[in-house]
Symmetry: C2
Subunit: 362 residues, 2 copies
């Protein structure tokens, strides 16, 4: 993660993984989410915080979810329906359950189908926020599968190349594959220049945005270093930023996410989706349907060896690949605790008191 | 396509689609490719030229293929073997057949599996150049399927973010989905800033490269407007260009293509692939395994209506989506002919005489 998104040390409060899990699960249970589902949702959020992906962990999100449960925009006990099913695919109606709760179950279905037939894919319509996308492909790794997730995240922030109005959300795409000796490849990116949650994170942290990260409300890129405006005060270009620099590529990947998640699930294009009626696409490829797992992992290690052992470019100490830093950060945070911003800890302790959870951080 | 890649009008020679097909097919047949396979390979190349994707049509490629057949680097009559197969997947050894010949057959297998079971995916190892990736997903559209293609295109041109040496080729990704009233969504991009073939095209055309399109041989981006060096004189950054501008996203998508095409097919990572032992991944999703085709197309039209009917950004006349210009260009070129550079026409007429094809353009 770029330094723009890190919590300054002076503002950090270390909370142990166990305490973070216990507190988060208690909040979901207080919202009426059943025990097992609360554990799933908690695992998505805490995995995100452990991997250093604060933007999609509890810091920004948990209080939003609480508001959404209180306003009946999320259903804590959804009646998830299978709308359509084939041997390798399924389409689910999440009944306004949060994605953190329905998504892991959708990925389980995809993996069961992949285990039996080679591939599995599940579309989910009418779900709430799904959290860090990488979580779902990560689930596939321990089964020697490649995992994929895409989300059509609304339609009110990302402006298409040459356009003046938003049509997409941040529309993220995640993809993961296991390696042998090395940490796995785990890729998870917004198709905008920056994830919207990270823009919000810079507001808490007080850092500036880079030129070209956002556009004004006419879709024109803002090319100075500016403080992040609040939601409603900006739009975002597809990644690439300008046409010459490849924004049509970010735009195309955003449209792929809109199609695979929104349209293929029957939820519709993101810009027509209701405020909390989102969608999700998850998929698993069973590696040994194509090639021996040992050969696959040996080749992954060869590729990763080539990358991490080359001389870094001038000014850099290491050459990374997607998922490497997050893997290392998770090991560190499991041992030392998660460095939340004190404002987040204060929020939790206030919520805990209000909900009578009898828990206090750190 | 950016103006950088267009053939200047003064250098254009219009060749009818029929003449272009007849001549191209005759060249493949003269190389020993059987009639049906020569027709497939020709269709890939001419579809590319019709859609305005000259970089992957006959202009750059056909003479390279002729050289490769003459040097026995391509096998005109490959014995394609099925190495592994499941109900929804297959892995093929192309026996050094050109991708233009084996790839359409691989996509046929994927679509047959998708028609029966909902999805199909095929990995191909040891194939030659596959041409314009969009061709393969385009095949899926008339069957009301979503098509995907990825290629691990060697390992000697794309430098990973923070790295100093190339690990990937241009590693393109293509994805297509049908619409109703509108032309289909057809996305096909290199994961480098620009396709390598397009760099070569600017050499013929005499236009300059934009800042950040290439790097020097230490992996440092060249930030001035320069003439394209020849192959061997440059590397390329992943799309995005710099880390702040999202080059880690292009890099991640390149790694996805390396994994799905190179490693999953058993061909190995691109940087270890032999000069002409490439790989390909093709996939088809049967739309009605997930949602009614009518509903899917209605939603696609709604999304496209929203895009093409919005006010363009200042300085632009239209808002496009991937595949729209190419669709319009194909209609125009079918009617008027394909505007080849006179140098290409001269090459063809020379080759025709040498091979005694008794054909002459235009």
């Amino acid at each position: 993660m770029l330094r723009h998104f890190l919590v300054p040390e002076a503002d950090q409060v270390l909370v142990s993984e166990a305490a973070a899990r216990e507190g988060t699960q208690a909040v979901f249970e207080a919202m009426g989410v059943p025990l097992d589902d609360a554990a799933l949702a908690t695992d998505v959020l805490i995995t995100s915080d452990l991997r250093g992906c604060e933007s999609h962990g509890i810091s920004n999100q948990l209080r939003i979810y609480v508001d959404q449960y209180r306003n009946a925009r999320l259903n804590p006990t959804p009646d998830v329906k299978v709308l359509r099913e084939s041997v390798v695919s399924a389409t689910l109606d999440a009944d306004l359950g949060i994605g953190l709760q329905v998504g892991p179950r959708a990925m389980e279905i995809a993996m069961e189908k992949a285990a039996e037939f080679g591939m599995g894919a599940v579309g989910v319509q009418r779900c709430g926020h799904v959290g860090m996308l990488a979580y779902y492909p990560l689930m596939a790794l321990e089964r020697d599968m490649i995992g994929v997730c895409m989300v059509s995240a609304g339609g009110h922030i990302q402006v298409p190349t040459f356009g003046s109005e938003p049509v997409f959300g941040t529309h993220p795409i995640a993809w993961a594959a296991p390696a042998g000796r090395h940490p796995p490849f785990v890729f998870d990116v917004a198709t905008t220049q920056v994830a919207a949650n990270k823009i919000m994170l810079t507001r808490r942290i007080g850092s500036n945005l880079e030129p070209g990260w956002i556009t004004d409300l006419n879709g024109e890129p803002i090319t100075e270093r500016v403080e992040a405006p609040d939601y409603g005060g900006f739009f975002m270009p597809p990644f690439g930023g300008t046409r010459e620099n490849g924004s049509h590529k970010g735009y195309g990947f955003a449209m792929i996410a809109d199609i695979m998640s929104g349209i293929l699930s029957g939820n519709g294009p993101g810009f027509l989706a209701g405020g909390n009626e989102l969608s999700q696409f998850v998929m698993a490829f069973k590696i040994d349907a194509f090639v021996d797992v040992d050969e696959f992992k040996r080749d992954m290690d060869a590729l990763i060896d080539r990358i991490v052992n080359m001389k870094p470019a001038a000014g850099h100490e290491r050459v990374y690949y997607a998922g490497l830093i997050e893997h290392e950060e998770a090991a560190k945070r499991r041992a030392e605790g998660i460095p939340y911003h004190r404002e987040v800890v204060d929020w939790f302790n206030g919520a805990s008191a209000e909900l009578d959870l009898k828990l206090r951080w750190p």
